[in-house]
Amino acid sequence: MIPENMRNREGDRRRPHAAGMMLRAAVLAVAAQVGLGMGISGCGNYSNDDLEFLNALPARENVTVEVPVRSAVLLGGAAEGWRTAWAVSRTFNSAAEGLLTLVDRIRSSYPTSRNGETRVWGPFPSDRQPEWRVVFSMMKNKNVLEQNVLETDRFEYVLEMIPPSGVTLALGGDRTVVLSGRFNAAARAGDGIGHLELSPGEARQAGVIFEDLDRLQTLALDYDYRGGPRVVDIVLTYDPPRDPAVDVSHASYHYRQDEQRANVMQFDLEKDVVPGPAGVDSIHIQSQWRADGRGREDRAITAGDGVGAMAQECWNETFQSTYQSSWLGGTTGDPTSCIAASP
């Protein structure tokens, strides 16, 4: 009745449906092969340690000058003092911006290699400098003794440019440092004390073009934000001025913002504003403004032909001048409208 596919209970005559069994075996073999072929490995940037390094890079809000939102566009009729403060803030922020753009690009990617307490991004081809490559390295130093002070967990970083073959660097070597920095973290994310230094000179000599930085020799930026007042210092050093009456040779900016968002900007200019035998004058300017817009500016010539001269201007919430005193001592307006001078 059912004469097919019989098997001796002592042993098979043949294995039935061998093709089917081979199919199953093949599927299993392929599955095993795929599993083994993929290997047991992992990839990605999923890292807690990287966060420490990324946290050591300056955050935009910590190194830029804050101006009232409604003054984003300078209005006509604004006080001269505010115009100066606004312009300087722009200069300050644009100087920091160049660095921050670079830092943001670093932060938005993840390290190419990790080795203990070192992270390296790149080398990558430079976007704007054909055939040049850039590499960014960060090191975490557990203990650093500097000026007899032991600093712990200090991060140091450096951005280097690698020239194409055939290009010789002035200081020799196979790469030039464009940016360097360090950071000591405070107890809150992003807070700490940091220092950055932009030094494009050697690269520029080798043919790299830095837009808007054509005379800049160094830009040093120090910031300190540990939960209290936020302090930022920028010192710019330029190549010797071609026209001392127009070009500055050196500028420094000191910016401080307290917890109530009261802002103070101090800066020195080297500029020949009073013609005379002394040549370039040194001018110290302190601008203050509050979150509501009110502010004041105090100017003093500290060296040069106009040394000792002082001037002052105050403005209200709409940035209109309310009080002025000139270099020659004349005043207009109401001095009581001025906010208190910061020490």
Partner: protein, 585 residues
């Protein structure tokens, strides 16, 4: 070399002798057959009769061994044979599941221990004044006068002596193995198509009956087409009702034997391995035949009304196994006590098939009528063989959905991987590679809020997201297949433990609240183990409690100690609702 024609003639002669024997027996006893309207006396082996004639406590030991040690090849259906007999005895033979032992791929020691265990219980039953009986069934290898249970051997003669002396009133040994006839050769063995038992004795029956699937010098054979050995298959078909020649709704031992003998010989007459002749021997005293199954004890199954067309009907269960073959005689009702389920029916005509499908609901008898069948060409034969059936029909899908938790441990940096909630979907291909093997493809998504703390105490909250794709292979154990001390006694049938391996592809990402940090991701391949329990809620619905333990190679942050990749692990606990398209088995 025997010719097929010679064998057919021999079978025909044997069948004729059987008929003559039966007639002589009935005439000699003066009781007549069922067709005469009088009743034969039978020993009440089944429950229905037991109520009428006194309690008999029934025990059963069923063993199936695929492997027989060196020089043998694995059998495919030994376990299935044992399971089938177990099902029939517990459904229709009034054997309580607690009084059965199913021994699959055990050894000689386990077999003896199981026999000891049942004997111990029988002793207790006897002490309570109960009559006791035992069925020992073995399907597997035998050679050189011994049953071959894996690497161990169980000599037949001592086993026979053991059965003869066992503390049961009635002992029935059924051995489906090569050369098993050597067990009946020494005393009273007959390679005969049927036997009759004295029904005139005033005493209750006591003694030993042994049935073997083949003679001492013959091999026993199994078939892919029927999914079992010939002898066990026909014995089971007979016990389900095919052998109820008397039509009294009860299948006696002699009816079952005669039925199995006739069909086993007929099916193997053309086989290359030679015709297989079942044998029997009995050493019984007392009256009556032995009723093995009472078809009336459960009013469920299939009824062939008297007017149903005559012929041989083949009933194929949902897995593609032939559940029973029934010879229907014209004008006579025939009942087959099929278990509830879905069946294909086939009746072969000279030029075509008559096929159909039928559903047997629990507790109901379904009558077959000719309009339920349709004509079909031979190419549409529902009996395609077990290998084909296993591939085409029993292999089926399941789909599961659920939720769970994942926890990574061993990371040197706190907050690296948060405990995440998971939502998952799984597809399972069941019984494709092997029975009870499940190949799974699963996917899951997870999410959590985490927090990283890095020196000097900086806190970075983040949102964690995860996606996983995995493939797995696991094996399920059903209690009735592995229970050493009887079906349902090790764990309930509604609990299915499983264990397997899994390979997962993980993609983890996190987005920090502080937008200054870029999103982070990690992708890896992770091998692991899985295990758990499926709780059967209904025919198709299961609740699956699963645990996974995976290895996780993390190679982004280096170990602070070794400056090398970190070997982590993760655990997942999930609760899924599973729909099994094949239904419970």
């Amino acid at each position: 070399m025997r010719s097929a024609a010679w064998l057919r003639a021999l079978v025909a002669l044997a069948m004729g002798l059987a008929a003559a024997n039966a007639g002589l027996g009935a005439a000699g006893l003066g009781a007549g057959g069922a067709g005469t309207g009088s009743h034969r006396l039978v020993i009440a082996w089944t429950g229905g009769a037991a109520r009428a004639e006194g309690a008999t406590h029934r025990f059963a030991l069923l063993a199936g061994n695929a492997r027989g040690g060196p020089g043998t090849r694995p059998l495919l259906y030994a376990a299935e044979d044992a399971r089938k007999l177990l099902d029939i005895l517990t459904r229709l033979g009034s054997v309580s599941a607690d009084d059965t032992i199913l021994l699959l791929d055990g050894d000689a020691g386990g077999f003896s221990a199981a026999l000891d265990a049942l004997e111990g219980r029988a002793r207790q039953a006897s002490a309570r004044g109960e009559k006791t009986s035992l069925v020992v069934y073995y399907s597997g290898h035998a050679r050189g006068g011994s049953l071959r249970l894996g690497e161990s051997e169980l000599p037949l003669e001592p086993l026979k002596r053991r059965l003869a002396q066992a503390r049961f009133d009635i002992r029935i040994g059924i051995f489906d193995a090569c050369q098993s006839g050597s067990m009946t050769r020494s005393k009273g063995a007959r390679k005969a198509p049927a036997f009759e038992i004295d029904t005139q004795s005033p005493r209750d029956a006591r003694g030993l009956v042994i049935l073997t699937s083949s003679a001492a010098n013959e091999d026993s054979q199994e078939s892919d087409l029927i999914g079992g050995s010939y002898f066990s298959h026909h014995l089971a078909s007979g016990l389900l009702g095919g052998a109820d020649k008397s039509g009294d709704g009860r299948v006696t031992l002699s009816e079952a034997y005669a039925y199995a003998y006739e069909r086993t010989v007929a099916d193997t007459v053309d086989s290359a391995a030679g015709t297989q002749h079942p044998t029997f021997s009995y050493d019984l005293s007392g009256n009556g035949d032995l009723v093995l199954t009472d078809l009336g004890s459960r009013r469920e199954g299939l009824v062939f009304p008297g007017e149903a067309a005559a012929g041989t009907y083949v009933l194929v269960d949902g897995r593609g196994f032939v559940a029973a073959e029934v010879s229907k005689v014209a004008g006579r009702e025939r009942r087959v006590a099929l278990a509830p389920g879905h069946y294909h029916i086939k009746r072969r005509l000279p030029d075509r098939l008559r096929v159909g499908e039928i559903e047997i609901p629990p507790g109901r008898l379904v009558a077959l009528s000719e309009p339920m069948l349709r004509d079909a060409p031979f190419s549409d034969d529902p009996v395609k063989g077990v290998a084909g059936a296993l591939r085409a029909t029993p292999a089926h899908w399941s789909v599961s959905m659920g939720a769970g938790l994942q926890s990574v441990f061993g990371a040197s940096s706190p907050g690296l991987f948060p405990v995440a909630g998971l939502l998952g979907l799984e597809l399972g291909l069941r019984d494709f590679f092997r029975r009870d093997w499940v190949w799974g493809l699963d996917g899951a998504v997870g999410a959590a809020n985490g927090r990283v703390t890095v020196p000097p105490g900086l806190d970075f909250p983040y949102q964690f997201r995860e996606m996983s794709l995995a493939t797995s292979l696991h094996v399920e154990w059903r209690s009735h297949e592995r229970g050493l001390y009887g079906a349902g006694t090790v764990w309930p049938r509604w609990v299915i433990p499983f264990l397997g391996v899994r390979m997962a592809l993980l993609l983890m990402t996190r987005q920090f609240d502080d937008q200054a940090f870029p999103p982070q991701f990690f992708a890896t391949v992770s091998p692991g183990l899985l295990g758990g329990f499926a709780f059967v809620l209904s025919d198709h619905l299961n609740l699956v409690l699963r645990s996974r333990l995976h290895y996780l190679l993390y190679n982004v942050d280096q170990s602070s100690r070794s400056l090398a990749s970190q070997s982590l692990a993760y655990w997942e606990g999930t609760l899924f609702v599973q729909y099994d398209f094949g239904g419970s088995r």
